[in-house]
Amino acid sequence: MAKHQVAVIGTGQTKFKTHFPDKNYVELTQDAAKLAMDDAGVTPDDIDAIVFSMAPTQFMGVNDCDRWATSHVWGTGKPFMRVHTGGATGGSAFQAGYFHVASGVYRTVLVVGADRVAETPDAQHVLNLIWDRFYEHDFALNTVTMTALAAQRYMHRYGTTEEQFARVVVRSRGNAMGNPYAHLKGKITVDDVMNSPRVSYPYKRFDICPRSSGAAAVVLSNLAVAEEKCTRPAFVNGVSSITHSVFMGDRMGLWSETDFEDHDGFYLAARDCYRQAGITDPVKQIQVAELYDPFSTFQFPQMESLGFCGRGEGASKSDEGAWNLDGEIAVCPSGGTLCTNPIGVTGLVRAIDAANQVMGKSGDIQVKGVKNAVATAIGGSTQFFTCSILGDEPVAGRNA
């Protein structure tokens, strides 16, 4: 149980699209920061410290671009730090901001970031550079081929079909139609997904997220500030992260304790997060899951590891409609990462969309009666896992 209760009191995000020809990187960060502060009813003077969310800077081409953005997010003269855990960066930044407040060191913290993934002509070439220079670059490994291997293993193990993954894409694009910030959206069919160009088995183009640009921000505070500024905050009742080995080969086979295609880190992360938040039955107690799912194959193993169904049951649950907006649990009502992936802030967007559901301000994608929502993020070689629980009530017994 944290020393100080933490709450989300304001959120902000820009629309996400491939290019922003009319704004540069730091102007995007400023837009998101202002939106979040306006939403929270605070001014830059009310912000005690800033956490910057940015993954590899090679996509947008300025090393340590957070330093360039310092003044644009009103960070001059303030405590300011950047965290980076690859695709999990937004989740890690959200949690770093949480610890600023939970420790009692600061009362009000802005978490902000932006990405422009399409600034580079080939993001997957940059993502090949995450691998070992001597042993792995030449295998054409990137995040598409890496996760395709995991998807093949999942299909082999549990008998999942490409059509079942395609139904996830159809649901996500449909959900995104109600999200004004989503990058990809629309009514599509399973055939549309199946007939899109093959990229890397089992992936077709529609199984893969877009390269998105845009910015996001959230204002976190302690309980006293939340009570003063916000009538309906989202309380951060649990945070956890788990880091696994970079080597996928060490996460499979007879001698491995876990298996990489199961998104195994979430098994540990979720249980710690649920313990903090007092969640004993996630299916009954959690109404929304905003997942880090840049590929159609990510929802099934992730939902299984998060405890929403048994191993290998994800595809059938999805087919039954259990994860529709009106199902057992609404999975990615925003359209999720499949529809929008500004890598440096994707995990933060997941936390924002989860918080907005708890705060009752999700507009056309609002799910009724949300008491708890879970937000996830994944980075590296599907090795960094973050899990956060937001609730409509603070966990009892915490300090202001």
Binding site: M1, A2, K3, N24, V26, M54, P56, T57, Q58, G61, V62, N63, D64, D66, R67, W68, A69, T70, S71, G77, K78, P79, F80, M81, R82, V83, H84, T85, G86, S92, Q95, A96, F99, H100, A102, S103, G104, V105, V126, L127, L129, I130, D132, R133, V239, S240, S241, I242, T243, H244, S245, V246, L268, D272, Q276, G379, G380, S381, Q383, F384
Partner: protein, 362 residues
Amino acid sequence: MDVFVMGLAVHPPASRIADKRLEEMVFDTARAALDDAGVHRSQIDHVTIAGCDELDGRSISSMLLAAPSGALLKDEVKCTDSGLTAFCLGAMKVESEVLDLGLVVSWSKPSTAPVEDVMRMRCEPFFTRPIGINMSIADGLFAQGLAEAYGIDETDATQAVIEACGRAVRNPRGMGRAAPPASQIAASPYLAAPLRKGHQAPITDGAVAMVLASAKWLSANPNARPLARVAGIGWRNEEFDLGRDRLTALAGFRAAIEDAVEMAGLESAGDLDLLELDCQTGWHAAAYEAALGHDVPLLTPSGGAFAQNPYFCMGLINAAEAVLQVSDRAGPLQIAGASLAGAHGSHGFAQQAHVAAIFERV
């Protein structure tokens, strides 16, 4: 803060550590810190690491380096600012009472990286990058500003280098380089006037790790002996643009130290027995001393960056030196009776950001 340093390790520095891969350096250092604390990796519940992708040469360097840092199947996060910034985040994680026992690990192996190219790519693409600003030029502008604001000249900068090297040569954790004669420094080439090559602390390879524990963990492990209490932390950013005020006010430096001093319940930095400063050049050493005013503790007895200078984690190296002082383990550098020691780090163009931590004898 109710945060305690249980153990630490500083990797032996070298201009170029050629007999180990970076992950071996990191593993050896993290393992040595755990051994120093007398704890096993299975006991820790989190790791906070600090690394620079661009200097490490990988887009997400923590993919490879998290496990050697001890983070396999642990809560882990990477801070990209500096080693001492990661220390502040690690301390907050422990102070939150969510996590109890963790490692802070940072490294820098710039011998394998084109440092000035990395720094040049920190420039934004519209104004500063086209004119070719890099670290040396930014430091040269900084030195020009300091010369005007504090009346520091080349003689002062040279003297600061000689004094720092005189302390550094006694540091058993340093490179053991003797101080160069003033004439040699004065004859070294200008990198960006008035900054000469001889004014710079030579960059080295290195790594450092610390084990942090909560008061709750200490209560549950009564046989464990902490080395120091973390009394205060502070960090501040200044603006990116290298304007006159930004270069001369040293506002971030003063504010970061004031934050740490206030959290520690002290009146001023003068209440410290010593303060280890991150001085990348003789100009910085002279300027920081001037900025502290009359209330100056003993400054940088370790020799700081002139003893070893693994650029990215220099602030955390300073923190290790400060902990060694308040735990009577500083060896030939030991200040008798040191009970409050401060550490400072900086990062970014012309020291855009400053970090400070204060350690108290327990």
